[in-house]
């Protein structure tokens, strides 16, 4: 079926596309506004970008409230009436529970990322926010895409601006960006090759049809089924790179450390969530007939990812590198429910992604606010500072220290970080009900390993020995201490200076939002846990899907 014939007669549901259109338009508007603003007003661009994202969020909320039982489809193959379940089989853009949840997630996460950024480092504001919004557009499309072409284009839209964003990093930014770029295109090439094999075997790029075609070919067996199987595995590589699952994780620590901290946060949450969305969509919708064999592969991938991530994180001495390896490990946890092939456990993965986004952004936010500041502090403390620089932070900035400790405990999954505990329970529960108990045990051991390094960092914050005590005396009159001479006290300095402007407020606001969300989710995690409990209802063919 020639694609040109299809696109000629499609009707497009623009309300469904509204969040994407707003973001893409906003990106252009920001770039344009950059040309007309004088240099000292450029910081307003970040508030403009924020406005764009909030508008998209509002559109998203409108889509939430106007939800009917059916998903909203657009860009459908001709002949299929929009709105009927069967038509979802060959639509390129579908808005269902999954899409709504993930789109809300990436939008809300980007709000926090934007809040982290302003004036924190010397970047061209226009380009920075244009690239960020462009990348976000890619993420928004990716989670709604239901065919391989759209998903690939979206993945590239997500990635290309990200390379440039990484390059803004002050120290090793260029090198990190190049590394990121090279590894990314290599994995995309492999993925495209895989998709071409799958297309060859099934004759379609739409997930629903691929799934039907795969059941057909695997029933027939022979060379065609093998080709399709190889294609499926190769396709997953591209997403494996995005989520930094272990054989494809090598870029992660370098890139995070080289990039500006907000961009590291963006990569670890938004880009990763989008990558997981792609993985979930392809595995659950397109490759469902192969899920039994892919499940084993994913299980091994999960086990290796979490173990390698955690073990290497143990040895890290710098804050951002530690967070980078911890995100590798956390990716392993998210993979666990996907490895369950007996019953549908996707909702656990999505719940984990949502909760993880909050706590990880919170941790990055505090690190960024504390040590990513402009001026000497950043030069002295590249990539978020050494862990030792956090010694006695509680004396200096009790609220920031408490927030960081709380987020770290959330990541570790230990009360008072009840939210993190709930996330872990969701994954454990999926593994236990799905009969991959061995994976659950591997994860249990990993949780203990992870606790060690999170807790070590958290304990350092409250440490009063030596350095911390010394600092307490030297900074008794805080105004006398120049900002950043001993670690960093930018905040107290900024608070005392007469120009307490919006840019110093924004990071605090970001951390505050993350903290509030974390507290809410600790007591009421139901929105995250139930978000996609009924997904994907379109493929409710198997008894497993009906059991959910």
């Amino acid at each position: 079926m020639a694609t040109s014939a299809i696109f000629g007669i499609q009707s497009i549901d623009y309300t469904t596309l509204l969040p994407v259109l707003l973001t893409a338009g906003g990106a252009l508007a920001v770039l344009l506004a950059d040309l007309f603003l004088s240099a000292d007003r450029k910081q307003w661009l970040s508030w403009g970008a924020l406005g764009v994202i909030v508008a998209s969020l509002a559109a998203e909320l409108a889509l939430w409230t106007n939800r009917t039982g059916m998903p909203r489809n657009t860009f459908c193959m001709p002949g299929a009436k929009g709105g009927t379940p069967t038509s979802a089989l060959s639509c390129s853009y579908v808005v269902d529970n999954f899409t709504l949840t993930l789109q809300t997630l990436v939008l809300a996460a980007t709000v926090l990322v934007v809040l982290m950024a302003p004036r924190r480092f010397k970047v061209p504001f226009g380009e920075y926010h244009f690239l960020l919004l462009s990348s976000l557009t890619g993420a928004l499309v990716l989670v709604a895409a239901r065919d391989f072409v759209t998903i690939t284009v979206a993945l590239e839209t997500l990635s290309l601006p990200a390379f440039a964003l990484v390059g803004f990093g002050r120290r090793a930014g260029g090198e990190a960006a190049l590394k990121f770029f090279l590894m990314s295109i290599a994995s995309t090439a492999v993925m495209l090759f895989g998709i071409s094999l799958v297309y060859g075997a099934t004759g379609s790029v739409f997930f629903g049809r691929v799934s039907a075609g795969l059941s057909h070919t695997s029933a027939l067996g022979g060379a065609q089924a093998q080709v399709a199987g190889v294609g499926a595995v190769l396709t997953l590589v591209g997403f494996g790179f995005k989520i930094s699952a272990v054989p494809f994780h090598f870029w992660t620590p370098e890139v995070y450390a080289g990039a500006p901290i907000p961009i590291a946060a963006y990569l670890s949450v938004v880009s990763k969530a989008a990558g997981f969305a792609g993985l979930i969509l392809t595995v659950e919708l397109a490759f469902r007939p192969y899920l039994h064999s892919l499940g084993i592969l994913l299980a091994v991938l999960a086990a290796v990812t979490m173990t390698v991530g955690n073990v290497i994180a143990l040895r890290q001495r710098s804050a951002v590198r530690l967070l980078a390896w911890s995100t590798v490990a956390q990716a392993g946890y998210v993979l666990v429910p996907l490895a369950v092939s007996k019953s549908l456990q996707v909702s656990a993965s999505v719940a984990y992604l949502v909760l993880y986004a909050v706590m990880n952004l919170g941790a990055f936010g505090v690190v960024s606010a504390a040590f990513g500041d402009s001026g000497e502090a950043e030069l002295k403390l590249p990539s978020g500072g050494e862990l030792a620089a956090y010694r006695g932070m509680y004396r200096q900035r009790p609220r920031a220290a408490l927030a960081l400790a709380f987020f770290l405990l959330c990541l570790a999954g230990l009360p008072p970080g009840v939210m993190g505990l709930f996330a872990k329970v969701a994954v454990f529960k999926a593994a236990m009900t799905g009969d991959v108990a061995w994976l659950a045990v591997v994860m249990a051991v990993n949780v203990v390993i992870a606790l060690y390094y999170y807790l070590r960092w958290a304990a350092v914050l409250f440490d009063v020995s030596l350095f911390g005590a010394a600092r307490l005396t030297t900074t008794a009159p805080p105004a006398a201490t120049p900002a950043g001479t001993l670690g960093a006290t930018p905040d107290s300095a900024a608070a005392l200076s007469p120009t307490r402007t919006l840019p110093t407020l924004a990071p605090k606001l970001g951390v505050g939002i993350a903290f509030a969300l974390a507290v809410v989710f600790s007591f009421w995690p139901n929105p995250a846990l139930d978000a996609v409990s009924t997904w994907p209802w379109v493929v409710s063919s198997g008894p497993a899907a009906a059991a959910r």
Partner: protein, 506 residues
């Protein structure tokens, strides 16, 4: 009564808020006030409790919390939880009172008090939760505060390592325990502890029960602690501040035995039956090992706190032996011994803390001798606690261990009788060894002449008991005596409930 249970959890939380609303120097007083209030409130439970139906879960509150997990906020108490709950609130109150003039009085007192209050929420919650997942959450809440107490306020070079060891060990255990709970839920379809106890394993295959008991039991075994998973305990106790040690020994270890009784024996009985003898063996090894380790500590270079910690391993060995018999008598004994150990070891750690305060050390040989002369009442109290700990009839330590041994004479049907008789004999040897080391300690500390042969003073006199110490310690000593002379106070409560746990009187 349900309101009261919620209040017991909410009050410490409210205390936390007040703590940070008031200036830092009021912290210790706020803590002490909250602790006392919670204890008084828990006393109100006594007249409200229906003693005729001690086996029934009373004062239940059951509201859904997280439907996706089937997690419900389900509270309730019965004859098993009530004594442990009262022990918890009592020890917390005493610790918070004690801390007013010691640890909590310096500038970091607010954080210290806050950790104690969070700890209290976790401890109380563990004993009143009637939903497995809720139980797990409360079980985990205690970890971070205790870690903080050891890591920040502990003493010695090793305190950070000890704190890490404590939390990593316990977390590994509890992560496996969570898997066990989830396994039970996957097969039985509920986390409701009341319903699961009612079913008494009905509907769970042997394989599931064995797997679940193994996973859950590992978690509790680390917490109890069972030999050979006990190695975190001596380090943690040696390093912890006094109130940390008291709560760790007095309450936190009981969470393990409580779990063994209610969840292990009560919900997966076939699994418990399968591993009962192994549990008994490990328990008995713990008794003998603990006693031998204590004898080693009683020699030169030994440390009083470490000695008490090892003695805990021995005493908890008796508790495990009692549980392992899976009989009414044995479980009664285990529960009684748990409470008694909480009182006695709490007292012993307070005494050791007193030494630490007076002399700055707990090294047995630097403490000096002749305490009868140097600080008369202090010495007498040590003897009293030591006698209680070695199981002198008439004091609390006696009944629990006696019952555990009686239970071993006739273990539950299907368990190897001969094996348990051997264990019983070994436990008897352990009792003798226990008496030996405690008498060694008493001789070392309390006896001996203060003046040398030429009339010179060999040991400085010590300040005797202060009023503050009297307030914190006499309740423990008094209850040790009461429970020893009138064991029925606890047994009358526990026995019907234990009978219910074992599947009787359904």
């Amino acid at each position: 009564m349900a309101t009261l249970l919620v209040l017991l959890l909410a009050l410490p939380a409210a205390g936390l808020v007040v703590l940070y609303a008031l200036p830092a120097r009021q912290a210790a007083r706020v803590g002490a006030g909250t602790g006392t209030l919670v204890f008084l409130l828990s006393l109100v439970l006594l007249p409200l409790f229906d003693y005729g139906h001690a086996e029934q879960m009373q004062g239940q509150l059951n509201v859904p919390w997280v439907p996706a997990f089937d997690l419900r906020f389900h509270l309730g108490i019965d004859g098993i939880s009530l004594p442990l709950l009262l022990l918890t609130t009592l020890l917390s109150a005493l610790c918070l009172l004690y801390a007013v003039r010691t640890t909590a009085k310096d500038e970091s007192g607010r954080a210290f008090t806050a950790l104690l209050l969070v700890l209290q929420i976790g401890m109380v919650g563990t004993f009143v939760a009637q939903d497995l997942l809720l139980f797990f959450i409360f079980f985990e809440i205690v970890l971070v505060p205790m870690y903080g107490l050891i890591h920040r306020w502990g003493s010695g070079e090793e305190r950070r390592r000890a704190a890490n060891k404590f939390i990593l060990y316990t977390l590994l255990g509890s992560a496996l325990m969570l898997l066990g709970f989830l396994l039970i839920h996957a097969k039985a379809g509920t986390f409701d502890m009341v319903a699961l106890a009612q079913r008494h394993g009905l509907g769970l295959t042997i394989g599931v029960q064995e797997g679940a008991f193994l996973l859950v039991g590992l978690g509790f075994a680390v917490k109890t602690p069972m030999w050979p998973l006990h190695t975190w305990l001596p380090d943690a106790h040696t390093s912890a501040p006094t109130v940390g040690s008291v709560l760790l020994a007095g309450v936190l270890l009981k969470m393990g035995t409580y779990g063994f009784i209610r969840i292990g024996a009560g919900m997966v009985p076939l699994g418990a039956h399968r591993f009962a003898f192994a549990l008994g063996c490990f328990g008995t090894v713990g008794i003998v090992y603990g006693a031998l380790a204590c004898m080693a500590q009683a020699r030169r270079g030994g440390d009083l706190k470490r000695l008490i910690a090892y003695s805990s391993v021995g005493h908890m060995g008796f508790v495990l032996l009692g549980v392992a018999t899976l009989t009414r008598v044995g479980l009664d004994g285990a529960l009684f011994a748990s409470v008694a150990h909480g009182l006695i070891t709490g007292l012993l750690f307070f005494i050791a803390g007193g030494f630490k305060e007076r002399l700055g050390t707990t090294d047995l040989y630097t403490l000096g001798r002749g305490l009868y002369e140097r600080a008369r009442r202090y010495g007498v109290l040590i003897v009293f606690a030591a006698m209680a700990s070695l199981g002198l009839p008439g004091l609390a330590g006696f009944w629990g261990e006696l019952y555990a041994i009686i239970g071993a004479t006739k273990p539950a049907p299907g368990l190897t009788s001969l094996g348990f008789h051997i264990l019983m004999a070994l436990a008897g040897v352990g009792m003798i060894l226990t008496a030996t080391y405690l008498l060694l300690v008493v001789r070392r500390l309390c006896m001996g002449a203060v003046t040398g042969p030429n009339g010179s003073t060999r040991y400085e006199p010590l300040p005797d008991l202060t009023p503050r110490e009297l307030i914190s310690w006499t309740p423990l000593a008094g209850l040790t005596l009461v429970a020893g002379l009138w064991p029925a106070v606890i047994l009358a409560l526990a026995d019907p409930a234990v009978h219910h746990v074992l599947g009787g009187a359904r």
